[in-house]
C-alpha cells in the first residue's frame, strides 16, 4: 500500500556506455511508479538511449507501472534507442501481454539476451 511497506528499490548499472540497466525490486504501482520514472528521466538526461529493465523482482505491476514503460518506450523511439524488459514475473508478464506492450517492447530472460538485442539494433543505427 504505502511506500514504507512496499518500497521500490532501483539499482542502476551501466553495462555499456549508452546502455543502462535498472534492476527494479518491489511492487510497481501507483505509489512507487514515480520512483522508477525519476530514475529513467535521470538516465535520459545523461544521454542513455537503451534501457534494460530487470523486473525479476517485481511481483506486481499496475497500469501506472505500465505507463512508465510505455513513456520510456515512446521517448527511446525518438532517439533510436530501445527499452527491454528482462525476466518479468508471471503477473507482470500477463499485464505486458494484456496491454500488448510485449508486442512492441522486447521481453527477454536475461541481460545478455537484451544486450544482444541492443547490439543487433546498433548496426542498423550506425548504418
Amino acid at each position: 500500500m504505502s511506500i514504507a511497506q512496499n518500497p521500490l528499490s532501483v539499482e542502476v548499472s551501466l553495462p555499456r556506455e549508452d546502455v543502462v540497466l535498472l534492476t527494479v525490486e518491489g511492487h510497481l504501482d501507483i505509489d512507487t511508479a514515480t520512483g522508477l520514472q525519476h530514475h529513467l528521466a535521470n538516465q535520459f538526461q545523461h544521454g542513455r538511449r537503451h534501457f534494460l529493465l530487470d523486473l525479476a523482482a517485481v511481483p506486481f505491476m499496475d497500469s501506472s507501472g505500465m505507463n512508465i514503460i510505455i513513456r520510456a518506450y515512446q521517448q527511446t523511439r525518438e532517439l533510436d534507442g530501445s527499452v527491454h524488459i528482462i525476466s518479468p514475473t508471471p503477473p507482470v508478464r500477463r499485464i505486458l501481454d494484456l496491454t500488448g506492450v510485449s508486442i512492441t517492447v522486447p521481453v527477454t530472460d536475461s541481460v545478455e539476451d537484451s544486450l544482444a538485442l541492443v547490439d543487433k539494433q546498433q548496426p542498423s543505427d550506425s548504418a
Binding site: 511481483p59 505500465m66 515512446q74 500477463r94 494484456l98 496491454t99 500488448g100
Partner: protein, 849 residues
C-alpha cells in the same frame, strides 16, 4: 582658635547699651521690635516675664503701656502682632504656652520638666480641660491679669480658628483684646533678657554663680548673645555676636551637644564672655533645647574654680537651660525677620516637600518625632520622586515611617541618625561624600556608598543622598536587557507610577526617550484593537492574580509601523500579596511571526488546493455521471438484453477514466465497448469523453472493431497529454448472434454459458495511444440463447495476489448460483467483487434472448 573679636553689629551699634533707647528713639513702627534684640531692660520688658513668677509690674501696667506709647506705633505693633497671631495659629504658640506652664510648674513644684509635663497632663485630665487650657490657667495664675488676658485671647483665637472670619470680627470688635494680643507679642521681644535676669537673680545666685549668658544659636554656626546678667554692659556688647567657626565654651556645648562643666576656664584655653573678669572661674554651658532642637546655650559663670557639682545641681541647671530654650525659640520666631509672617504649623515641611520634589537626588523630608517632649526619632514626612531606597524598597514603604524604623542601621556605625539629630539640634548643615550607609534587607545588611547632605529648614530636616550604586543598577538593567538582544526591559512601580525603560524599549516602541515610557496599563492604546482581549487577559493575570504573564500583540508605533511584540512580565508582591512592582521585557517577534504567517498561508493554500481538487473531482464525477449514468435505461435491441453498470471509485480523487458504451448503430448492429483511460482525475475523464464519443462516431462508418480501435489509437495518440488507454470493442449482430470483437490492451470479454465462465482469447492488441500506428487483431464468437457476455474494467477484479483470470473465475462462481436477470447478475458482480483496489468499475453485459 583665635580670640573672637567683639563683633559690632551695625544695626545694633547705636542701641547696644541704651536701657531706654528702644522705645524712645525708634520711631519706625515696622521695625520697632526687630531692633530690640539683646537690648537692655526697658521698663516695659517686665510685662513679658513668663517664666518668672516675680512680676513686679502691677495690674495698672496695661494702662501705663497704653498711655506711654505713641498711638501710631502702637497701631503698627498691633497690626504686626495680629498678623503674627493669625499666622501662628494654635500649635506653636500653644506649645510655647505649654512650655511656659511646664516651666512654672518646674519652679513651683521643684520637679523636672518631664514630671512637670506629666503633672500638667494629669491636672488637665482631672479638671476635664485640654492640657493647653490648663497651661493657660497655670500661666494666668502666675502672670496675673495682663498675661492671663493675652493668653485667654490666644486661647479664644485658637478655639475659633475654624471660623477665622468670626475670630477677626471678634478682634475688631474689641480693641482691648487687640491690645492684649499686642502684649502677647511684646512678651517675646525682651523675654530672653528678662529670663536671664530672672534666672540669675532667682536661680543661679543661690548656686554661687556671678553671671549668666544666654546664647542663641544661628544655623550658620554663629552665636548671638540673647540675654545676659552679671556682665558689664561693655563686655556683653563685645560678645553680642560670635561668628561661626570660633570655638568658645558655649560653642563646645553645641558641638558636643552636652552640658560642659568646666572647673576653670583658663585650663580649657577656650575664650568666652567674661573671661577677663573670671579667668579661673568655673563655667557651665548647657545646650538649651526643646523637643530635640537646640535653640541656644545657657552659660553660667562662677567666680572661682568649680568643684564637680551634685547631680541635683546639674539637673537644676539643665532644667533652667530648658526653660531658656522656649524663650529662645520665641526669640528666634520674633527675630527671624522674614519668617515673621509665615505660619508656624510645619510651614517648613510643606515648603521642603516642594523643594525635595525639585531635586534630582533622592531626598527625604524629616520632621522631629517627639515623645514626652523629647526627640526620639524623625518622622519621614516625605520622600521625593527620585527617592531610591538603598535597601531597594518601594517609596511607599519608606514614606511615612520613622527614620529609625525604616533604617535601624542609621543609628549604628554610619551615625546617620546622629548626624540628622545634630543638624536638627544645631541647624548646622552637614555634608559628606562617600559615606557608608548600611541598610537592612530581611536581616541581611546591604552596604552602599552615598554622598550625604543634611540641612535643617525651619522645624524640618532635609536629608539628601546620592547612592552611587544607582547608576550601576540602571546600567546593569540596561546591560542585561541588551545582552539578550532586541529586548526592551522595563520596571514599573505601581505605587509611585515610576517607570524605567531601557533604550532598546524606546526604539522598539519607536518613541524618543524624551517622550517618556508607556505604562503597561496603557498598552492597549498602542496595540491593534483586535489584541485588546489578549492584553486585557495579560494585565488581569499580572495585576489581579499577581502572576507572571505573557502576551503577543501587534504594536502600532507612532511611525505607523506595526511590529509583532511579545511581552512577558512578572509582579513583585508586597507583604499582602499585592503587586507593587512590575518587571518584564518586550521582544520583537515580527520575524518569527511572519514565518508562522507564511506557514499558515501555505496551509491555507494547501487547504484551498484540496478544496479545488475536491471540486474538480466532484466535477469529474458529475461529468462522468452525465455521460454515463450509473444505471442506464435498458437498451432496446431485438432479442438482446443489454445492461450496464458504472461504479465510481469510493475515494473521490480516484475518479478515473473508465467508460462503457452500448448503442444500436444505424445498421442495426450493436456497438459494445468498455474502456479505461490511464490515470485519474479530470484529464482522464476528459480523455474518456473524447475517446467514447470518437468511437461512437467512428462506429457509424460500419468499420469492424479492429479498424475502429486502430483509428481510436490514432485519436488517443494525438490527444493532448499523450494519454494511454485500454479498450475492448465489440460489434454484435443480433440477427446472426455473432460478436466480432477486438481489444486494445484491455481484458478480453468473458462468456458465461451454462454456469461456465470463459475468458475470450487474449488477442494481440497494444493499448491505445502508445504508438502512432497499431493494427489490432479481430475475433468472432458465436453466441447462443441465454449466453451472457461481459465486458468490464479491471476495477472489478484486480487483485495483487492473483491473476485476472483467477479473480474473474472466482467472482463468476460466486454469482452464478441462482438464476437471475442480467441486471441482477451485474449487481451481484459489483456486490461480490473482491477487488483490492478502490478503482472505478464499468461492466457491460449482454444476454441473448
Amino acid at each position: 582658635m583665635s580670640l573672637p573679636e567683639p563683633h559690632p553689629d551695625p544695626n545694633d551699634a547705636t542701641d547696644g547699651t541704651g536701657d531706654d533707647a528702644v522705645f524712645d528713639t525708634d520711631t519706625d513702627a515696622g521695625t520697632s521690635t526687630a531692633t530690640d534684640a539683646g537690648t537692655g531692660t526697658s521698663p516695659s520688658t517686665d510685662v513679658a516675664v513668663g517664666a518668672d513668677t516675680e512680676v513686679d509690674a502691677s495690674a495698672d501696667e496695661q494702662t501705663a503701656l497704653t498711655a506711654n506709647y505713641p498711638v501710631g506705633k502702637l497701631a503698627a505693633t498691633v497690626e504686626r502682632l495680629r498678623r503674627e497671631v493669625r499666622a501662628a495659629q494654635a500649635e506653636a504658640d500653644g506649645r510655647a504656652l505649654m512650655e511656659l506652664a511646664k516651666g512654672i510648674l518646674v519652679e513651683r513644684l521643684g520637679c523636672g520638666p518631664a514630671q512637670a509635663a506629666r503633672q500638667l497632663a494629669e491636672l488637665a485630665e482631672q479638671a476635664k480641660v485640654t492640657p493647653l487650657e490648663l497651661a493657660v490657667d497655670v500661666i494666668n495664675q502666675s502672670a496675673r491679669d495682663r498675661l492671663s488676658d493675652v493668653t485667654g485671647a490666644f486661647l479664644a483665637g485658637a478655639k475659633g480658628q475654624e471660623g477665622a472670619a468670626a475670630d477677626r470680627e471678634e478682634r475688631e470688635r474689641s480693641a482691648a483684646v487687640r491690645l492684649r494680643e499686642a502684649e502677647s507679642g511684646a512678651l517675646a521681644a525682651p523675654d530672653t533678657q528678662a529670663v536671664a535676669d530672672s534666672l540669675f537673680h532667682h536661680a543661679l545666685t543661690p548656686l554661687g554663680a556671678v553671671a549668666v549668658a544666654i546664647w542663641t544659636a544661628g544655623t550658620d554656626g554663629s552665636l548671638t548673645l540673647a540675654g545676659s546678667a552679671g556682665f558689664s554692659p561693655a563686655e556683653a556688647g563685645r560678645w553680642r555676636y560670635v561668628p561661626p567657626g570660633v570655638m568658645t565654651v558655649a560653642r563646645t556645648s553645641l558641638t558636643e551637644r552636652a552640658g560642659q562643666w568646666i572647673g576653670s576656664l583658663s585650663e580649657t584655653g577656650l575664650p568666652s564672655i567674661g573671661q577677663h573678669h573670671f579667668p579661673d572661674g568655673g563655667r557651665a554651658a548647657l545646650p538649651a533645647g526643646t523637643g530635640g532642637r537646640v535653640h541656644g546655650v545657657l552659660e553660667v559663670v562662677w567666680p572661682t574654680p568649680l568643684e564637680p557639682q551634685s547631680p541635683q545641681v546639674i539637673r537644676q541647671v539643665e532644667a533652667l537651660a530648658e526653660l531658656c530654650a522656649h524663650t529662645l525659640e520665641t526669640y528666634a520666631f520674633v527675630h527671624g525677620g522674614d519668617t515673621v509672617t509665615e505660619p508656624r504649623v510645619l510651614p517648613d515641611a510643606a515648603e521642603l516637600v516642594d523643594l525635595a520634589d525639585g531635586l534630582h537626588d533622592p531626598a527625604l523630608v524629616l520632621v522631629p518625632y517627639l515623645d514626652d517632649g523629647h526627640l526620639v526619632d524623625f518622622h519621614i514626612h516625605h520622600v521625593n520622586s527620585r527617592f531610591l531606597d538603598p535597601a531597594g524598597r518601594p517609596r511607599g514603604l519608606v514614606n511615612g515611617a520613622l527614620l529609625l524604623e525604616a533604617y535601624p542601621m542609621a543609628a549604628g556605625e554610619s551615625e546617620l541618625f546622629q548626624r540628622v539629630e545634630r543638624v536638627y539640634a544645631t541647624g548646622e548643615p552637614f555634608r559628606a561624600q562617600r559615606m557608608n550607609l548600611t541598610a537592612l534587607v530581611d536581616q541581611v545588611t546591604v552596604a552602599s556608598v552615598a554622598d550625604i547632605s543634611i540641612s535643617r529648614h525651619g522645624n524640618s530636616v532635609l536629608l539628601i543622598w546620592r547612592v552611587e550604586d544607582e547608576t550601576a543598577r540602571l546600567a546593569s538593567l540596561l546591560q542585561h536587557a541588551q545582552r539578550l538582544g532586541r529586548i526592551g526591559g522595563f520596571e514599573e512601580n505601581l505605587l509611585t507610577g515610576e517607570i524605567t525603560w531601557n533604550g532598546q524599549l524606546f526604539s522598539l516602541y519607536g518613541r524618543s526617550p524624551s517622550s517618556g515610557p508607556v505604562p503597561l496599563e496603557d498598552l492597549a492604546l498602542h496595540a491593534h484593537p483586535d489584541d485588546a482581549v489578549a492584553i486585557g487577559r495579560f494585565l488581569r493575570t499580572l495585576l489581579h492574580h499577581g502572576r507572571p504573564a505573557a502576551a503577543a500583540f501587534r504594536l502600532q508605533r507612532p511611525d505607523e509601523v506595526t511590529r509583532h511584540i511579545r511581552v512577558v512580565a512578572e509582579p513583585v508582591l508586597d507583604a499582602d500579596g499585592r503587586p507593587f512592582v512590575l518587571r518584564g521585557a518586550y521582544q520583537d517577534i515580527s520575524a518569527q511571526h511572519w514565518t508562522e504567517v507564511a506557514l499558515a498561508a501555505t496551509r491555507d493554500q494547501l487547504a484551498h488546493s484540496e478544496q479545488q481538487a475536491t471540486e474538480r473531482n466532484r466535477l469529474t464525477l458529475q461529468l462522468q455521471h452525465a455521460i454515463m449514468p450509473p444505471t442506464q435505461a435498458p437498451l432496446q435491441a431485438p432479442r438482446l438484453d443489454v445492461a450496464v453498470r458504472y461504479r465510481p471509485a469510493e475515494t473521490e480523487q480516484l475518479v478515473g477514466g473508465d467508460w462503457y458504451d452500448a448503442v444500436v448503430l444505424p445498421s442495426g448492429l450493436v456497438l459494445l465497448c468498455v474502456g479505461d483511460v490511464a490515470g485519474h482525475g479530470i484529464e482522464a475523464a476528459t480523455s474518456m469523453v473524447v475517446l467514447r464519443n470518437a468511437l461512437r462516431g467512428l462506429a457509424v462508418t460500419g468499420a469492424g472493431p479492429g479498424q475502429l480501435l486502430s483509428w481510436l489509437n490514432s485519436v488517443a495518440h494525438h490527444l493532448t497529454g499523450s494519454i494511454t488507454a485500454t479498450a475492448v470493442c465489440g460489434i454484435y449482430d443480433p440477427r446472426s448472434r455473432k460478436l466480432r470483437w477486438a481489444r486494445a490492451g484491455h481484458l478480453p470479454p468473458v462468456l458465461v454459458r451454462d454456469a461456465e465462465a470463459v475468458s475470450l482469447p487474449l488477442l494481440k492488441g497494444l493499448l491505445l495511444g502508445a504508438v502512432p500506428e497499431v493494427t489490432y487483431g479481430e475475433d468472432e464468437v458465436q453466441l447462443a440463447v441465454d449466453d451472457t457476455l461481459l465486458m468490464y474494467t479491471d476495477g472489478l477484479i484486480e487483485r495483487r495476489d492473483r491473476t485476472m483470470e483467477e479473480s474473474m473465475t472466482q467472482l463468476l462462481t460466486t454469482v452464478r448460483t441462482a438464476p437471475c436477470t442480467l441486471d441482477q447478475q451485474l449487481d451481484r458482480l459489483l456486490t461480490y467483487s473482491r477487488s483490492d483496489t478502490d478503482d472505478d468499475t464499468c461492466i457491460v453485459g449482454i444476454r441473448v434472448s
